[in-house]
Amino acid sequence: MAEKQTTKGAAPCVDACCTIGPGAGPGVSPESLLEEMDRAGVDWAVVHPPDNGYAFENEEGNALTTGAAKRHPDRLIAAVTANPWRPDAWDCLRRGLQAGGRILSFSPGIQGFNPADRRIDSILEKLAGDEPGIPVYIHTGHHSLGAPSQLFLLARRFPEIPFIMGHAGATDYAGDVVPVCRQSPNIYVESSFARPPGFIGRIKAIGWDKGIMGSGYPLNGMMFEWSEMRRLLPADHQKAVLGGNLASLIGGLK
């Protein structure tokens, strides 16, 4: 067995992008995720629903993530979703939040909407009114639907909502990230699939308080992604990027 990884300092390590359940990649149970987290020296992980949970089976996907977080309240953080095309999308999301969801997550490429248009606005208006402070994770990088510049327009419409730019526009929108984020104080940037060498350069330009580590497990290897990020990230900023920023965003780890 590989030696467990550690991070400089005692700050908790939080992985912002892991997926459980059956999907395009290997199916991962919450328990096997925990084993991988132990090997990678990761204390907490945000669990996102699998692709079918984004596209159609929203309740089932949310039950998967909130159920896992309930069973492992000291390790897993649930992200919940609903397809914005559903007339009852907010009701679905509200149920997910009541079941323990702490982050809303949307995948425009899979769910077929453009963050720049108004499809999602009624949901976010309700979120801002009823559940202030809940961050919204948007998967970016998918072509046509999910460009950082589309998130830029959305984030300006909802300056009170913290947004997490999932995957930092990887790969083809990497060059958009810095100019978007320099003008968007409510956008944080998550690293999965953006490759540590490139991601770190962009966070350095935007601000270390905006960087959030995610491995993209299980499509990516958790141990390798964390090992590369720990190796390349300046020691002074490891605490923030490897967990502190996300922990603050969700109101603390509990």
């Binding site: 072509h143 046509s144 995957h167 083809d172």
Partner: protein, 249 residues
Amino acid sequence: MIIDAHTHWPVGLNSDPEAFLGVLERYGTDMAVVSGWEVFWRPGPVSVSTWNDRLADFCRRSGGRLAPLATFYLADGREAVHEARRCLEELGVRGFKFHPWLQGESIFCETMYDICRLAAEFKAPILFHDGTPAYSMSSQVAVLAGLFPGTPLILGHGGILHFWEEAIETAVRFENILYSLCGQHPWAMQAACNRLPHSRLLWGTDYTGPGGEEFIAYRRGLFDGLALAPDVREAIFSGNPRRIFRLDK
């Protein structure tokens, strides 16, 4: 023997091959197949043929460790075909790199078809950037592969992140498609290795020159983590690129 089948070098910025060879040494890479870098933005007033000359000269001074891929601009029409032929016959390039996204050109035109015929004549592969709509989709390369079954066409990124299944399907359907493990996540890389004939696989870093060295370490790490038999790893690292780019000639 480790051959990086997908690299770039900014020959306008640094024309000393020793600088590149030093990077290869540092990461344990023996040889590299090299495309230019600045040329993909067509920086004037330097002509495309001058950029191809510079790259070929750069590689010629590497003691056989760097193999050049030339490029062309389809909007140049017949001149592009002449330039491609000149690069093969006079400069000895090992094939072509075409980046439809950066170069801003659709691959469906008579000029590209003529270059495909030319490439088939020389058994020279064309390495495409792929995985990026609207001009650089793996399935578009599949269409080209169907039109020109005798032309070896390389998916430079195997669909990158979002189109990796499309890229594998492309390679499954067309035997003249070669597939580069370069830019995908490891799940997609492993799926390609499991589903495609090993003789059609390459490995590359997409290293783009000074400052990008950590990408070599990262992509080598991804490849090292794949579950591959030693002979398959050896084929991807060495035997396949030697054969596909005719590096022994």
